[in-house]
Structure formats: C-alpha cells, structure tokens
Symmetry: C2
Subunit: 152 residues, 2 copies
Amino acid sequence: MFTAHPIGYIHSPFRETSAIPKGLGARHDAEGTIELLPEFGPGLMDIEGFSHLFVLWQFDRAAGYDLIAHPPTDEKRPHGVFSTRSPRRPNPIGLTVVELLRRDDATLHVRGVDMLDGTPVLDIKPYLSSVPAENLRRGWLAEAEERKDRGQ
Amino acid sequence: MFTAHPIGYIHSPFRETSAIPKGLGARHDAEGTIELLPEFGPGLMDIEGFSHLFVLWQFDRAAGYDLIAHPPTDEKRPHGVFSTRSPRRPNPIGLTVVELLRRDDATLHVRGVDMLDGTPVLDIKPYLSSVPAENLRRGWLAEAEERKDRGQ
C-alpha cells in the first residue's frame, strides 16, 4: 500500500472520454506531450535513445471499479476487468505505449496518446522488447475482430 | 493522487534481490504464480484466452528514489531513472510482461517473473499488441550490448 503522486501531466487532444478512439480498428496515432514537473526532469536523462516508452498514468476521472467490464470492442459480451483496459479498475492505473518523437527539457513529445487532457502521469519506463506477434494469443479480442470481419 | 492497494501477491523463486537474473543477456524464464485475493477472482473472467499479460506491481522492498540510476546492465554509466527499470522510482510501480501458462480459480501460473516472492500485485492487463522489433530503438541498452559484444 502506498500513495501514488503525479510526476507530471499529459496534454492530449482529448477533452472528454467520448473523443478517444475506441473499439475494433481504432487508430491510436494522436500526438500529445508529457510534461514532467520540473523537479523530475533530471530523471529523463538518456531517454531520447528510446523509440517507444511505457507511460503509467492515473484514471483520475474514473470513480470506483467493476470486476466485470463491458468493453466497447465487444459490447454484448462482458469480460473480467483484468482481461480488459477498462478505466474502472481496483487500482486506477492506465498503461499506454507511446512513440517518443522528441524531448524538450522536461517535456516529451509523443505519438499514440489515448489519455484525457490533464491526466496525471505516474511513471515512464523504456520499452525494451516485444513479444513476437506470432507468439501472441489475444482471446476475446481476436474473437470479436473475427466476428466483425464476418459482419456479425 | 490515490492510495494503491494490493489485489494479490506474487509467488516467485526469488527470496532476495540478488537472486533475480539481471544485466545483459539475463534470461527471464522463471515460473511463478499470481494469487489474487479471493474477492478479485471474478475479474479474471476470460483471461485464459490471452497468452501474455502485463503485471503491475509494487516495489515494496525499495524505499525512496533517485532520479539518476546505475543499472546493472551498464554499471559505469548513470542514466535517468525513467530510462531504466530501477526499483527506486518516484512511484514504486514495477511492470513485467509474463506468459500465462494456466489459471486455477484466482491463481495464475505464469512464466517470466522477475519479482521477489511476496510482491504485492496492483493490476493485470491483457497484452494486446507488440511494437515490431524493427521499429524499436533501445538507446543506452543497445549501446551497452554492443560494447559487451566487442568485449569492452
């Protein structure tokens, strides 16, 4: 148990949840910035060398949680919250992989934001390796994509 | 700002930090379990369909943070904490990608743990897609690997 504090804030084009691309085939190429609080700026040393970053952030406009979620990619079928990216989670922590475009001091310009404007950032980590696509199984999401492709 | 609470605990073969494989070429294929607290078990519905999961957890045996880290993969060269996986972070949150082997009720059997035994788990999310390896740049880590390959 610990208290999570913002290290900075996201600036994104999304002012409300409905504006964020969601569901099957949604593209996540929106650009935004991560502005760290000045005292955390030195922690970004050498980050420019990484093409992609994990951003951990707070779902600060979600309250409470549900163990069963109804994701927009598969609306008719409920799934356990830990099988989804639902904002209503026991710990309101979001995770997004972004592409790092450039750095200006304590500000990172990134592509692939899916957070609301003003979202508190909790951590940034380098993206070091990928699971090869051929080794991935994606459960209900793959099934929902297949149904969509079949027009069902 | 919010208070993070455990949803469960990791059981791993690692009783102390020194036992965890670290540094260049370290393999992460240790098996372990994630045992959710019984009340969170229903949140795992449909998770069996996913081959890989993101596990968010608490560095519960690290105290305080440093903005400049000295990672074991590149000991002579300091890097900003957000360019590393150092445990001494402003928010003590760890992130590990694990392979899901099987589920028994509220217990997940996984491969790829690098957490200490007894580590509190904060969240589990499905791993949905990878950045293609050919698009990744890995900054100081790639440079350290090259130096090692050259025997420097």
